[in-house]
Symmetry: D3
Subunit: 310 residues, 6 copies
């Protein structure tokens, strides 16, 4: 994997960060999926940052059987990798993803097994739960995930990106909640997460019930993405820059922030505050606070501080 | 009712959909409320679509006593009507609705009965609960409801539209949470639903506490409506077109989507996913998935597929 | 305090309201903090309205130890003050607030006491809970709070304003969730409330994880603030005008609205409706409804009605 | 109906209460179901008390199709009947109930309609929801329901009694959660309510998973019933006596107590207290408090006080 | 106060514990309420244990106005008192408590102030909320509270004891949920807590709806109390012994246990486990674990270990 | 493993069930742990039933490091094993379990790793969460688990059994919530589950705060166990008999019952009913209902019916 040699010759992260554009070229996916994955290419373009790329460009990054389990393995690994502090996801080739690979998945969905309706249902429920887990691992992973979308993001793609923390896209990107078009209610996350990531319920309902496309401008004005870039290269540079801002800060602060933002989404404000206080009663005892406070008083950038791994 | 004869002469729904503008003229409300209702006019301009029109134009569609119970009857009927797959609501005459008909409702609210404060309270609670149900039936009805607002939408009108699934309006529309002006906290849905349909809590609070008007542009930018049209005719055509997009898709997919979007609103993501998996363990066994998947592979439009009634 | 003499010579509130610009000048903070507070200046520029001003301009209104307890005292007093129906908050001097006064707070946070980790944690939890309460009192106070931000609003400032009901800002305002920069996850409200007051989760995450500044335009488009003004004078006039709209309405209606909006935020729609019905079974028996209804029928302004204190 | 003439000749309730044994004989069900019901016999043995009797003794009070809807009508009527303050339920004939009348219900459950699995599921869900409502009406009815069980209480009978407020039984009574024996998980209330009415989860699980019978002694020691009587006559006298204790007290107090006990079951203590305070802010203004307090100070029995209807 | 001098001459706590009977005599309440309280007598019979005695024996410890606020002050003080690790509550004189002192409280409840029904309601809600707090402070205090009941425990007494952690009683004790007898639904805790402390819902409902007395045996078999003693002296010795068992253990372990037991009561198991893990990630770092583990391995009693204060 | 050869020579399950005492002897654990486990012995004494035995008798079945992960593997396997319909757990040797193996676990708990307090906390939280999962897998496994306790059940043993569905014990059994004795609040399930499996909160608190032993009689009267047996042999026969009652019934009914009982524990009744209806809309379509109903009508035992695997 190219990224390894690059990384080993890199000077310390913080001094290096600026020429992001150059690094983007190192994020090239020309080498294909990374072992042990057949649908994902993993690299580390710079220290502390893991790049996860959907990588079946010839199939428009469609989500086949392998994909659903590789994502789980990949993010479990990232969760445990102390060298990784932030993740950038993107898609190889012409688009982010065409969504479900119907051909490959057909027998799971169209020919479920079981001796009677109840037993088929039982097995289907297991399958759905397993597929839901494919995207929930993104949330369970304590490292923030920045997702960068270019071109089409269809069906399962929307399920995926709504489980990420920060969404960026190119001017030519479009989004489509496609499930009603194949006769089913979206069941791996979109109906649960989309209404909690954008502010217009009327729009959510319209997208989910009519399967119409939403383009970059509406994605921005509705809050689905927080930034739109001219093209993929600019977006990847932007994603890298943003991820760098995250990676250089205290991992105790960053990962605690992600955990508590997610907790708050699903609880009342009072419950969230209670949990937060219980969380921080230990986390505030990190030496990172002292280091950061000192740097702040000395007007140093966070990038000048070295934090222990977490 | 004109709509009946129209409908009986119509060819199959899906082939007919495009000339929506022409159909809009058939949605005319000149014939007045439809028996058995005195405040609502019900029609079926095209197959599978029910048009519910607030129809007391001479009273600016103000909500009188009859309205509060007719809505319940109307939507219970729609819920059970297998021929209906989607609903469009709008108002007859110069505006959507002026809200509560204070004159007609006065003794319910201003002169509640009871021997002492507790007994009056008991009766008032029953009344409020009954009125809340008037709009909750819209949510309980599994068919999606597209509401199209022109002119004023005041007080109870806001309670009504926030219980609908998709909101559209004309350029001249305005919205007003009016209740503080008559000395009460809005109690039939606005305070509960408005914050969950738009993304700015500061705006919600401002509207509810000051009773100021909000015009179409702000309704759009805040996400209350997902589309603004030049005038009522264009809006009704747009509503019809959008409703058509919904009506032609699998009712198993569409109604399951509405049910789960509402469930998700009121639950954590994890709870929502669990419910969704339990829901779809049977719903995925519909033949609609096979039909839709086949159509998708053959590059056919969803409109070309015939789905069983639900 | 100047405001007292002004107030005593004022004619009745409602007739006076219009020349807001003139009144703004009376909201001047030149006199400094008001006894018994050292960090807050309290005044009553017009009847029924309390102005709370962060007032350590020479320290950029940084939040020192005194501030955290004075806020609690101040809002508890306001909650009980029947002469106050609405609150306006703003900052004295060049900016709204620079956030935590690290120097003054250092030993609370950086040198917590305790014999071992558990005991230090126990004490830290008490401290965090106490600080959380500093902003929760704003929500517990039943009178609406309009906050007007100019210049910088950093760290604790964001915690503060997200606990207010309506947010306004000047064109030169900017907002920064600063906590990750000092090595900690924000623990006094931002992570809990910010996602519930604006509509874009991607933006919330970006702000909280990168500590980047957000300027007035994005604050408006994301819904953090509901209005942007050219400069502080215009904003204070606007805040006063808006507060006046609230103060002149029935306090039973206004405070019931605030209470139920907050309840709804943290509950399902069905739970919110149930609570609302139980709330209003007594509140609808206020004479304010009759007074307001009569005024409405006579086409009088709410300002023409005199409501009893609450 | 005999009970009417009895009632009209009765002196005031409170003076009459003691000779309960005599009244029990008037609760005889020999006259059969009461119009308009075919499965229930309704009577009013004494003022303020409604006796609802399962009345298909020749069919061991098995629950047929008519039963499921008659219960709803019956309890909706009771809820609105201001003359009724408390309900006693029991079964006519040799036992309380044999549960589901499989023969009569077979086609609803065994031959549900629908074009495919999803549509059959949709219809089944409607049916289950309707049947759940049959017992939920008991909880929704604000008047307390005392249920008196003799002989067998099987399957649906357990669903029924767990929705009642107070459970009594005879020494020869036995209870059986029968559903697993016919191949299904109990779906009309037992699995939801039984664990919340008795204190041993191990016992609940054992009963529900093995369908074993539980006899009166274990029903008492586990807390399912709060009293065991020697025989049916003694039990009916006891039920009448207990119901009389309830009926003679302030209906504002009694019905508010039932409502809040149910609310508390499903909420945290803090939520329950909040709701309670909101409930009682009006209910404490009843004149019943003054009447009751006065009676208490004068050492009078509650039965000596006349309360307005609710 | 006698207890002070006793305490100063005491040898170390753990060596002293056994002769509890002797100490009980020092818990005598003959000296009356302790300054600054008029309704409570506070003493420290042995190290680490605070004894709170309801002390208006001539008024059967009825709860007057002073009581409701003194309880709050008393338990807030205990919460902050590092020398106290456990609390024993009991009543002076012939009984535990007769409940509400109707005479003293009459104008709060029977003559609430306010210009109209809504304003009276508003004030009543404040009053109820304040009274609820009187017992909630017991739960908020992290030190376990053992309550010992002799004779009558009526009305407010039941509200009080259900907020305590462990309940003991004498053979002659009886309990009565009295509120329906004075025309109101119990609103300061009984309806919320009683169903969560005992296992028979039928019994809870019977007690709350009929106001019948429950005697010691039923209190034990229903689980309201966990031990019954022959008389008050034996009970106080037992309470002291039990409190001693608690006081000699690690306060980090004990108080963390109380906190999490209460959290679990109001949350799902999954939520409770999540909170617990977050709590213990710091608390396990206490040196108390090492000390305790070492003592356990050396077969020493917990009483032989000295733990730092918390 | 002996059980395999036994099983292969067994006639069909249902005909065989009665001579349970004989079978118990086959559950002997003399052969030691079963590969691949070092702490658990797994056998299948009769068809459809898996026996999981804690098997470190020489160490009093203390829970060492291996145990915590073997339990997860074991129950995941059972969950997927279609031949298993019910589980019986018990302990080999003189007692059920002595709880945590402090010696083996010491460095996980007493010497957690990490560069500062926050990082140690982070790692501890992972460890606790992993240990919690060890018992949560019992709940996640859809097959009912009957646990049979003899002798001591200490510390982690209580965490374990409260996660099982049905609890039995011998007359000489005793239970001890031991954690406070080693300086920590129990964090792998007892504080969350114990209060939900027994009916006396006073008793739960007493056990958890004082670490006192509870013997079989109190375990029975408090509802912790639903049956007490004279000795281990009788208990194992009883467990086998009870498990047989479960194993012979429809697995669709049985496992759906377990799932929904657990769901109901953590939700309101209304939520539970909604989930149940959604669950059964497919599960009622099982052929097991028809088979069972037919058998019931023909007065056959459930054991006479052959159900497909699930």
């Amino acid at each position: 994997m190219l990224s390894v040699s690059i990384r080993s010759t890199l000077p310390r992260y913080s001094r290096l960060w600026l020429p992001a554009q150059a690094l983007v070229r190192n994020m090239s996916s020309s080498d294909g999926p990374t072992s042990p994955y057949t649908t994902l290419a993993i690299s580390r373009p710079v220290e502390s940052l893991t790049h996860v790329e959907l990588h079946r460009p010839e199939k428009r990054n469609a989500m086949n059987k392998a994909f659903w389990s590789e994502m789980v393995d990949c993010f479990n690994e990232i969760a445990d990798d102390q060298d990784c502090r932030v993740v950038v996801m993107s898609g190889a080739g012409r688009m982010f993803t065409a969504g479900l690979d119907l051909m490959d998945m057909a027998n799971d969905i169209l020919q479920p097994k079981g001796d009677d309706v109840a037993r088929i249902s039982w097995n289907l429920r297991k399958t759905i739960t397993k597929y839901q887990e494919t995207f929930s691992v993104i949330e369970k992973c304590p490292k923030p995930v920045v997702v960068a979308v270019h071109g089409a993001c269809i069906g399962g793609g929307v399920d995926l990106i709504t489980a990420c923390d920060i969404r960026l896209c190119t001017q030519d990107a479009w989004f489509q909640v496609k499930e009603v078009d194949i006769g089913l209610a979206a069941d791996v996350g979109t109906l649960q997460r989309l209404p909690k990531v954008i502010g217009s319920r009327s729009l959510v309902n319209e997208l989910a019930l009519t399967a119409r496309k939403m383009f970059a401008d509406e994605a921005k004005s509705s809050g689905l993405v927080s930034r739109v870039f001219a093209d993929k290269e600019a977006m990847m540079a932007g994603a890298l820059e943003m991820a760098g801002q995250i990676a250089c800060r205290s991992p105790v602060a960053v990962q605690g922030t992600k955990k508590n933002l997610l907790y708050s989404r699903d609880h009342s404000v009072a419950e969230g505050l209670n949990y937060m206080a219980t969380w921080n009663m230990s986390m505030l005892q990190t030496e990172d606070v002292m280091k950061s406070a000192q740097a702040a008083m000395e007007k140093k950038s966070p990038k000048a501080v070295v934090f222990s791994k977490l």
